[in-house]
């Protein structure tokens, strides 16, 4: 913690160590309330993920932080600036990857990146940008001939051209095949290594789990939970999941279900949830021995995953209730 603060002060003392601060953010379109009091902070050097289903208000939040929309209410500081009134200063220090932004059709990759570099006072070297997003081989290719994944990585390169302190990524891999997603993730991982603060939105759990240091779950215009992946799962009050292959005797009804810890049989797999894994496991194994079920094949103990948390928060889940 102390270390973090030292680094924060070294990068930008003006903002008390936060790249982004959001307090009581509200946004309405006409009578529709899209954001209903959103609070969160993004620390310097971290990858922060705003996770939520479609229509939760992720893009709206990002557009307010980027200075594209004035908020209806609340306070927002990005790199110590107010995006609504200091958008041009913000744009010199923050890179933005929006959803579905095109390129000039006939421009070539390196030519376009070079053009973007000229917009900034202290651009990052061209060769470095091409390397970070792994586009060096197609540097002389016309943009219209790039694949979807390559285009997205070119998005990253343009957003990085000005050597920003902070990068916003709005749903960076939506609609990509697994290979293209992996390469995008690799590019984002490269960015993180450069020390760039990254704020991304996604509705993919695996993406948040793989990339983010901290996650905020946004749902229906409000932050449900903020924390590291593990904290989020713990905060959601989820139980540890114990599962094993359903023994044949249990399937055939020759053995009665144990009482007291809510074991449910779902065909080939039996599952129960518990707040105290050790006690439950001991009782379960005792029950197995008493009923001559052996060591319970396929026995697995899993900490609550982000997916469990997310599904519980965003919709009813029969497996948990």
């Amino acid at each position: 913690m102390t270390d973090t603060r030292v680094i924060d002060e070294w990068i930008a003392p003006v903002t008390d160590g936060f790249a982004v601060q959001v307090r009581g953010l509200r946004m309405s379109y006409g009578s529709t309330e899209v954001l209903r009091g959103v609070d969160f902070d993004v620390r310097y050097g971290e990858v922060f993920c705003l996770l939520g289903p479609n229509g939760a208000g992720k893009t709206t939040t990002l557009e307010i932080l980027e200075g594209f929309r004035p908020a209806t209410g609340g306070t927002v500081r990005v790199l110590g600036l107010n995006p609504a009134t200091q958008a041009s200063r913000l744009r010199e220090r923050a890179g933005m990857v929006l959803q579905e932004c095109g390129f000039p059709r006939q421009a070539r990759v390196a030519e376009l990146i070079d053009m973007w570099r000229s917009y900034y006072p202290n651009p990052r070297p061209l060769g470095e940008l091409l390397a970070v997003v792994e586009l060096a081989e197609v540097r002389n290719t016309q943009v219209r001939k790039l694949s979807g994944g390559q285009r997205r990585r070119l998005d990253f390169a343009l957003a990085l051209a000005g050597d920003p302190d902070l990068v916003f990524l709005d749903e960076p891999t939506t609609g990509f095949d697994p290979e293209a997603r992996r390469r995008c993730w690799a590019a984002i991982e490269n960015l993180r290594r450069l020390g760039t603060t990254i704020m991304l939105t996604t509705h993919y759990l695996d993406e948040a789990e793989c990339l983010a240091d901290r996650i905020a779950i946004l749902r229906a215009g409000q932050i449900e939970l903020v924390g590291t992946t593990r904290q989020v799962a713990a905060l959601a009050g989820l139980a540890t999941r114990i599962s094993f292959t359903t023994p044949a005797a249990l399937r055939r009804g020759q053995v009665a279900l144990p009482d007291g810890f809510g074991l449910t049989v779902r065909g080939p797999v039996s599952v129960c949830h518990t707040d105290n894994a050790a006690v439950t496991l001991r009782r379960l194994l005792d029950w197995a021995v008493q009923n001559r079920l052996g060591d319970l094949d396929g026995l697995a103990v899993a900490a609550p995953s982000l997916e469990d948390t997310y599904l519980q928060l965003t919709g009813p889940d029969p497996e948990i209730t």
Binding site: F68, R91, C101, G102, E111, Y120, Q142, G162
Partner: protein, 251 residues
């Protein structure tokens, strides 16, 4: 300020490179006016305007100069900006610290380069093929027509771009909104006449005929085109007003 100018110049260079890279687009922009010049010009060789000693080609060549200006400034710029907006390029520009004026300035500078080149080609070919060149002392009129033509039609191009709703319709909308007016303005036919009076008045209100007449003043002696210049200035003002009202950086 100097930085903005430098950035605009750089933007213009990139635009020009991109323009020439899409060969069919560049070729069409140049080929269309030049083809019309040669084909219709050939049909008018040896003819004179009724009751005068003025050759048809002396009026026709400057009309095509006006046509070329309008194609490059109005059609090309208008459809290009519509496509850039539709593709999200304009929105992407807004994510950078590049001043809007520098970006639009670059687009306009590139348009000016194209217009100047197309005017030079048309003028040269008109002179070589039909012996129709500017009259002595016609250069001021030519320059004024060129400048006012670019300003007026580039502004109207930006205006029409805000009306175009898709990238696919950009070219057709830009052409369809001006070709019929060009035809009934007599741009393609120096002896064109016989319009009903109301239609003739209507067409005179549009800037196409006005620009053609200003350009004709550089080739043959005409009265000072005060009304035509006022017409172009008025349309420029209307265009500026519309752009200020409706121009958007994203859809």
């Amino acid at each position: 300020m100097t930085r903005s100018v430098r950035l605009a110049a750089r933007q213009a260079l990139l635009e020009q490179r991109s323009f020439w890279r899409s060969a069919e687009y560049a070729l069409f922009t140049f080929a269309f006016p030049l083809m019309i010049l040669l084909l219709i010009g050939a049909a008018n060789v040896g003819s004179y305007l009724p009751g005068t000693h003025v050759k048809n080609t002396t009026v026709f060549v400057p009309s095509i100069l006006a046509f070329g200006i309008i194609v490059a400034a109005y059609v090309n710029l208008g459809s290009k900006v519509a496509v850039l907006r539709h593709d999200g390029v304009l929105k992407r520009i807004k994510t950078t610290p590049l001043p809007s004026a520098a970006y639009l300035g670059g687009l306009l500078a590139s348009t000016v380069a194209t217009v100047v080149l197309i005017t030079a080609c048309t003028g040269l070919i008109g002179w070589l093929a039909f012996g129709a060149g500017p009259r002595p002392g016609g250069l001021p009129a030519l320059s004024i027509g060129l400048i006012l033509g670019i300003v007026c039609f580039a502004t109207l191009g930006l205006a029409i771009s805000s009306v175009i709703t898709s990238a696919e319709s950009a070219g057709p909308v830009a052409y369809a909104s001006f070709l019929p007016i060009a035809i009934i303005s007599g741009v393609f036919d120096p002896t064109f006449s016989g319009l009903p009076q109301w239609l003739d008045r209507l067409v005179t209100a549009f800037p196409v005929k006005a620009l053609a007449q200003v350009m004709q003043g550089a080739y043959t002696v005409r009265p000072f085109p005060a009304w035509d210049l006022a017409n172009l200035a008025l349309w420029t003002a209307l265009g500026v007003g519309f752009v200020a009202w409706r121009f958007r950086w994203h859809t």
